[in-house]
């Protein structure tokens, strides 16, 4: 299943590049409009990078199942008996196209915001563990709103509150790597716990939501 979604994602490999590019633009844009001197940048970095991750994840959610619903593939998937795997594959593909590239590029962005050593690796780790959670939770919202006209805004409404904790802890991990390095592990473990719960339960919820949306 993953294969088709990856195929779809990679066929327009632009998608990956553009997602990445978009991320960079957003993060670059913020200092423009803040017009702040470079000293305060490191303090802003964790929050801004995480907000950008959150927004670029949500931005691409609306299309997660919408197309499958509109073209009738959702019918096929629901009666295939491999709904769970299919949802997992969708989530994985979503992460590979949004979360992973962001994670990979994050050290560079960190450098641009004057982060160093330990801080860079914390930024990287927090994104690596946290962005899949964003994709998992996002999928539930996407499934619930599939077929609704105002889908994309409702998704944001459903998903944002659920995702805020991820973002807060992700940003907190990075921030504490600047101020109090001892706490970094706690935050990362918290994120990992969230990841495990999300990967196990979110696809089940998503599959159930899809059945309801496809009535």
């Amino acid at each position: 299943m993953l294969k088709r979604d990856l195929l779809l994602a990679v066929r327009n490999y632009n998608d990956v590049l553009i997602g990445l590019f978009f991320f960079i633009v957003v993060v670059a844009l913020i200092p423009i409009s803040l017009n702040e001197s470079t000293q305060i940048l490191p303090r802003l970095a964790p929050g801004l990078v995480w907000i950008a991750a959150l927004l670029s994840s949500i931005l691409s959610l609306a299309r997660l199942f919408e197309e499958d619903h509109a073209d009738g593939s959702l019918d096929l998937i629901l009666s295939s008996g491999s709904v769970y795997q299919c949802v997992l594959a969708k989530v994985a593909a979503h992460w590979l196209v949004t979360g992973l590239p962001l994670t990979l590029i994050s050290p560079l962005i960190g450098l641009a915001y004057n982060l160093h050593g330990e801080q860079l690796s914390t930024l990287f780790m927090s994104l690596l563990v946290g962005t899949p959670v964003l994709s998992c939770i996002g999928a539930i919202g996407a499934a619930l709103t599939t077929g609704l006209r105002s889908g994309s805004s409702i998704i944001a409404l459903i998903v944002l509150p659920l995702n805020i904790p991820v973002m807060v802890y992700g940003a907190a991990a990075v921030r504490s790597s600047i101020n109090s390095p001892d706490n970094v592990m706690t935050y990362l473990l918290l994120l990992t716990a969230m990841l495990i719960i999300a990967v196990v339960f979110a696809p089940i919820a998503t599959a159930a939501a899809l059945k309801i949306s496809n009535d």
Binding site: N12, N14, L17, I18, F21, V25, P31, I32, N35, T38
Partner: protein, 247 residues
């Protein structure tokens, strides 16, 4: 359609003469580049006020900045020609121009960053001219991305041509962006052109380099155009003949 003869004959005949153009232009580019760099390093003063000798980045920075804008103007020219007369060759010209333009925009910012570090003490600041050059770079990238993401060639050509036309608004902005309405706010680092006060030899070297980049662009764009033509005309007899002759 009245322009058929133009549509169908031009790519083939252009392809025929293009090889010699590339040879000549790249030759000129190499010679001018050597002369220009020689002039720039040997005939100009080592130290310019407080800028030490780092100011010599200007021999790349300024030609690159001018070329990136000039190439955008030509790109738009070809795009508009294509939209009006429906000539395939002009779309190909536009498509061939974009990567070089993007390269120069990038070079401008890249060299500018180094220069800025040595003369202003910062790599980057949101000076309006830099910002608008960054936007120009993004527009080049957007043009290329839009073209690549549309499978149907004809639609890709027309859509990206329109985007180029919309983006042309950037050029006067870059040109005028020294005149910031609020000096306190945007603290423009770039000043009004000081070309007139510049030392004569610096000016000469800079212009030689300008012509070098111009010739380089001409060569590389023509070269890229050749491959685009071959790619797009692969169904035609003459294109197949060429490929067979090469093999």
């Amino acid at each position: 359609m009245s322009f058929n003869w133009f549509k169908y004959s031009s790519p083939a005949s252009f392809y025929g003469i293009s090889h010699s153009i590339i040879k000549a232009a790249s030759g000129i580019a190499i010679i001018l580049c050597i002369v220009g760099l020689y002039w720039g390093f040997a005939k100009t003063p080592d130290i310019l006020t407080d800028q030490k000798e780092y100011y010599r980045i200007l021999f790349i920075h300024v030609p690159a900045a001018w070329m990136s804008m000039w190439l955008y103007v030509t790109l738009v020219f070809w795009a508009v020609t294509g939209l009006i007369f429906n000539t395939r060759l002009s779309y190909m010209m536009a498509a061939a121009t974009a990567p070089t333009g993007a390269l120069f925009a990038f070079l401008t910012i890249w060299t500018g960053a180094f220069w800025g570090k040595t003369s202003w003490g910062v790599w980057w600041d949101w000076d309006p001219r830099m910002t608008s050059m960054l936007i120009l770079l993004f527009i080049y990238i957007g043009y290329i991305a839009l073209q690549n993401s549309i499978a149907d060639t004809r639609r890709a050509d027309r859509a990206s041509a329109l985007l180029a036309l919309v983006g042309v608004i950037c050029i006067p902005v870059i040109y005028l962006s020294i005149n910031c309405p609020d000096p306190y706010q945007c603290a423009a680092l770039h000043q009004q052109s000081s070309l007139k006060q510049i030392e004569k030899n610096i000016l000469i070297a800079m212009f030689i380099m300008l012509f070098a980049t111009w010739a380089y662009s001409f060569a590389i764009i023509t070269h890229r155009l050749r491959s685009i033509i071959l790619e797009r005309e692969k169904r035609t007899q003459w294109a197949q003949d060429i490929v067979r002759d090469k093999a």
